[in-house]
């Protein structure tokens, strides 16, 4: 894209800027588009769970225009700022959440070659950036000048800070099994049949996934962990005083981070852009068979990722519309008494498994490039790579 633009545009920095803008736009369109779809899907799923239709009239049979109509309504709403609010922070807070939630997509590969920035510590980066979303919530809740909002903010702070720990541990397990934090490498290791997926690698990764699911739901503030906006207790928690576009910014941030944790789960546990069956390899849709084949392979990978991501989101919606909400002390107990010990135990267990089942540090060295279960081989590979430079 950049090279193409460089041929036509002068000065060159314009070409760079334009190319960057286009790529940003594409990424943003993916996220915002999926937010719109999620919004519609949430209503439909809620409807099905509750034995009703959900949106059925706006825009035809499936109510597909519901989300745009809703967005339009939100944009047209009166923009209220309470008199008691710290208006600067109040205006600013939603964009912190939104920015943090979208920034996570910078390091998430959507396919083998389609990733905005290949970071060596990508898994870590995604976790770290997604964790920043809490700041918007805390600030928004505080700046609203309402006691309910303050309650929501305090709960969010307590909850997110505690759930970062088990979430980090859960991410660490597949990272350790794979031997790298590079999400592209982790994804590529799981190529082939679905038995190569890390969730099926050993019993510990299998357990880890369920702990990850719990912690991910908690860290994106979805029911039954939606304490910060518990509508039956705190009116709407940190969102109480928000309306119109700012409210929808928080809303988009929530869906954005749902998508981010789902994508992360897909890459870490479910093979990422590799389907359950190695179709791409059968049809030779690889980069080495020419750019078109590579493009098609990447497209297939994107479809895989989107399917897995949507599955994660659907599961979260299903959970939300089924379960009652936990109490704040129970949320924290779940984290401290169950999630953290369980995650730590699976971490130790996966480490032991890698050593016992794979025969220790040097066993994975031979097939360090393609197979999963190259825990230490990965590190050795890194070392070899850095040495060769």
């Amino acid at each position: 894209m950049t090279t193409f633009l460089l041929q036509w545009l002068n000065p060159p920095w314009l070409a760079y800027a334009l190319a960057a803008l286009v790529h940003c736009g594409l990424l943003l369109a993916l996220v915002v588009g999926s937010v719109a779809v999620c919004n519609w899907a949430e209503r439909k799923i809620a409807g099905r769970v509750q034995d009703r239709l959900g949106p059925a009239r706006v825009g035809g049979r499936f109510g597909w225009l519901q989300s745009p109509a809703d967005g339009l309504k939100l944009l047209c709403k009166e923009d209220l700022i309470p008199a008691d609010a710290d208006s600067l922070l109040f205006r600013f807070a939603p964009y912190i959440s939104l920015g943090a939630s979208f920034a996570a997509f910078v390091a998430i590969p959507l396919s083998n070659d389609w990733v905005a920035q290949r970071l060596d510590a990508a898994a870590f980066f995604v976790l770290a950036v997604a964790g920043l979303e809490v700041f918007g919530v805390i600030l928004g809740g505080y700046a609203s000048g309402s006691k309910w909002s303050l309650f929501g903010a305090m709960r969010e702070a307590a909850q997110v800070v505690s759930y970062e720990v088990p979430l980090g541990l859960c991410v660490l397990v597949p990272v350790m099994v794979a031997g790298t934090m590079n999400l592209v490498k982790i994804g590529n290791m799981q190529e082939g049949w679905f038995t190569n997926w890390l969730i099926f690698h050993d019993p510990f990764t299998f357990i880890t996934f369920w702990v990850y699911l719990t912690c991910a739901v908690a860290s994106v503030n979805r029911a039954p962990f939606d304490l910060a906006e518990a509508e039956s207790e705190l009116v709407a928690g940190f969102l109480t005083e928000y309306s119109g576009f700012r409210w929808s910014a928080f809303f988009m941030a929530e869906y954005g981070s749902m998508l981010a944790v789902s994508f992360l789960a897909a890459i870490l546990f479910f093979g990422g852009w590799n389907g359950p069956v190695p179709i791409a390899r059968w049809f030779g849709l690889m980069q080495e068979n020419g750019p078109l084949a590579g493009y098609l392979g990447n497209l297939l990978g994107l479809a895989n990722m989107l399917a897995k991501g949507s599955l994660g989101i659907v599961v979260m919606m299903w959970i939300r519309w089924t379960l009652p909400r936990l109490r704040i002390d129970q949320v924290l107990t779940t984290c401290l008494k169950y999630c953290i010990p369980l995650a730590a135990a699976t971490f130790v267990g996966a480490m032991a498994w890698t050593f016992v089942a794979r025969g220790g540090l040097n066993a994975g060295n031979d097939d360090a490039t393609t197979r999963p279960g190259v825990a230490t081989g990965g590190v050795q590979g890194e070392v070899a790579m850095t040495k060769s430079q």
Partner: protein, 209 residues
């Protein structure tokens, strides 16, 4: 005209945000806004870490510093955010003294930073522009386990010197962290004087009335 160096551009952007936010922390009176400025300063510093090729440290900065420490501070701010403490004025004399100390320090630091000509530009012929080439996580982890994989290309003598790694500091810091966390929990847990008495009073009243 030389082509624009994008690395420099992003550096300048992050540096400007970091410095402006740091000055904002100093200048603002409201403690909540200070926290917001600090958030931006720390975030921008994380960006500078990425640009300096320390992507693992940058991610750690975002995760632990911004996501953990700063949330903790925001928590503290909200717990103590009563009107009189929200924004506290500093006396002019204190301002003058503070600025004087800070200014002198800045002068010394800038003097020493600018004094070495070699530091003005990159010395290495191969600047590491591509972030994907960076691999700091694994060497860091190995370093903490006592294996200095970053020194493998050095001569034998220098290598042996550095091969002990960071296992001991790592262990010390782990134990230290544990102690600190327990201590913090203990400190924050202590009951507030007066409160127990207050509760007793109320219960008596309820029982009596």
């Amino acid at each position: 005209m030389n082509p624009i160096n994008w690395h420099s551009c992003f550096f300048l952007l992050a540096a400007a945000v970091a410095c402006a936010a740091a000055l904002g922390v100093v200048a603002s009176k409201n403690v909540v806004r200070m926290a917001v400025f600090l958030l931006h300063a720390l975030g921008a510093v994380a960006g500078l870490f990425f640009l300096a090729g320390a992507d693992f440290v940058g991610a750690m900065q975002l995760m632990i510093y911004v996501g953990g420490t700063l949330v903790l501070i925001a928590f503290g701010v909200m717990l103590t955010a009563r009107r009189p403490f929200l924004s506290m004025d500093t006396k002019l004399a204190q301002w003058i003294a503070g600025t004087l100390v800070g200014g002198c320090l800045l002068a010394v630091l800038l003097r020493s930073a600018l004094s070495v000509d070699d530091w003005a530009g990159p010395v290495s012929a191969a600047p590491r522009a591509q972030a994907e080439d960076l691999a700091t996580a694994a060497p860091l982890g190995m370093g903490m386990l006592g294996v200095r994989v970053d020194r493998l290309d050095e001569p034998e003598a220098a290598r042996r010197e550095g091969m002990s790694g960071y296992l001991l500091p790592f262990e010390i810091i782990s134990v230290h962290l544990l102690v600190v966390l327990i201590g913090a929990a203990y400190l924050a847990r202590s009951t507030r004087p007066g409160e127990a008495r207050l509760r007793e009073n109320v219960e008596d009243k309820i029982n009596a009335g």
